[in-house]
């Protein structure tokens, strides 16, 4: 029996590179929809809430946590995937606005921009002392 698991004939389907960009877009969508709002709530509202001295202690603890490598890597994942999600959506929006014939060319500024911003985020995270 084959079907959705069998894939048929032992042969793989031919792919365009769009699957790769869509996978980044899809993963970034989860990050942007779930984790980014959570970060906004935590860092923007919960950490500074209440007594200023307690809030300062919380912020310091949070800063120390960000210095840990597992947290840095997780943050980079959230940031980079969200950026690629954004880049993919911008590229398709530009295509919808009439630049469809340049869909290949648009990958350079869109995904290149996401990559550059991700590298910058990595550099900033790298510089945070544990």
């Amino acid at each position: 029996m084959s079907g959705s698991d069998g894939r048929g004939g032992g042969r793989r389907a031919r792919h365009s590179g769009e699957a790769f960009w869509w996978a980044l877009f899809s993963a970034g969508g989860v990050m942007a929809a779930l984790f980014v709002p959570a970060f906004v709530v935590v860092t923007g509202f919960l950490l500074p809430a209440g007594d200023p001295s307690v809030a300062a202690a919380r912020a310091e603890a949070f800063g120390q946590a960000v210095g840990c490598w597992p947290v840095k890597i997780a943050l980079l994942g959230v940031i980079a995937l969200s950026l690629f999600h954004c880049a993919h959506r911008i590229r398709h929006t530009l295509m919808d606005f009439g630049l469809r014939r340049y869909s290949g060319l648009l990958k350079v500024p869109c995904y290149g921009g996401a990559l550059a911003a991700s590298l910058w985020a990595a550099w900033v995270l790298w510089g945070i002392a544990p």
Binding site: G6, R7, G8, R12, A13, S16, A19, D96
Partner: protein, 274 residues
């Protein structure tokens, strides 16, 4: 056609129209239908023609168009068949929305005029009839049928399937090819290569069928550049679908399957997934 003429004709309306023609029911009110008219052989450009139609609460827009064709203007051209939301033939734009005209009741629009146009995103053949050629080519491209080497070998009995296996694709098998989703989809309108909601949903329906072995053949087509990836998940296809197929959901599932296949190439040897 004047209101008086419409009412007089209504009194003589034949049996071809549902719930037709009780003079008492129709003698008081009429509704205006503005029909898109275009005969490519003679008209330089499309126009709208207004008709006064007797208003009957039980009538759908298709009944009104049939009434016009039978009693007022036999040159009006439209496509229809079952009048019960099964055949998918009578899809048209009604006041800008793609609907099955056999399911669009006049009472939803009364007392305002109803503007009827052919489905957008398709070339017009004549009046309210669109050309289905491009759609049929796309449908054919995804091979919407069972593919397996032993399809004619019945020596082992039927190809059995559990209820859970059936549930994986049943929803997507309800498509009646009415093409409303193509009229609702903005990507269909400007991306020639995009296969469109119905074709992709039907391709996915067979990919999810446990008896099928045509995944790779089908995905060769579905995974090419903009054929499926052009979908930006607007979701209007699922909104207008009269059979609740949810083509947008099917496309997202197919994309996820396609992405899995893409990355499997790097972690599994060729053919290992078969």
């Amino acid at each position: 056609m004047s209101k008086e003429q419409a009412l007089e004709s209504a009194e003589h309306a034949g049996s071809g129209v549902r719930g037709a023609a009780s003079p008492e029911a129709t003698a008081e009110r009429t509704i205006t239908l503005e029909l898109f008219r275009y005969h490519p052989e003679t008209d330089s450009e499309p126009r709208f023609q207004s008709y006064e139609v007797p208003y009957n609460e039980d009538w759908v827009v298709l009944d009104a168009i049939n009434w016009i064709k039978d009693h007022v203007d036999g040159t009006v051209t439209h496509r229809w068949s079952c009048r019960m939301g099964v055949c998918g033939s009578c899809g048209m734009m009604v006041n800008g929305e793609p609907v099955l005209t056999c399911a669009a009741f006049l009472k939803s629009y009364f007392p305002f005029a109803v503007r009827v146009e052919p489905l957008v995103n398709f070339p017009v053949e004549r009046d309210l009839v669109v050309s289905m050629d491009g759609f049929m080519e796309k449908l054919e491209a995804v091979k919407p049928y069972m593919i397996r080497d032993d399809v004619n070998d019945t020596s082992g009995g039927e190809f059995r399937q559990s209820p859970a296996e059936l549930a994986k694709y049943k929803q997507f098998s309800m498509c009646i090819n009415c093409m409303l989703c193509y009229a609702a989809c903005p990507v269909v309108g400007h991306e020639e290569e995009f296969l469109g909601p119905a074709a992709l949903a039907l391709g996915h329906r067979y990919n999810k069928d446990s008896r099928d072995q045509g995944f790779a053949e089908r995905m060769d087509v579905m995974l090419s550049d903009e054929a499926m990836w052009g979908c930006t998940f607007v979701g209007e296809c699922s909104v207008v679908c009269p059979k609740h197929v949810d083509p947008a959901g099917a496309i997202q599932q197919a994309k996820a399957m396609g992405a899995q296949e893409y990355f499997k190439r790097f972690v599994m040897p060729k053919g290992a997934g078969a």
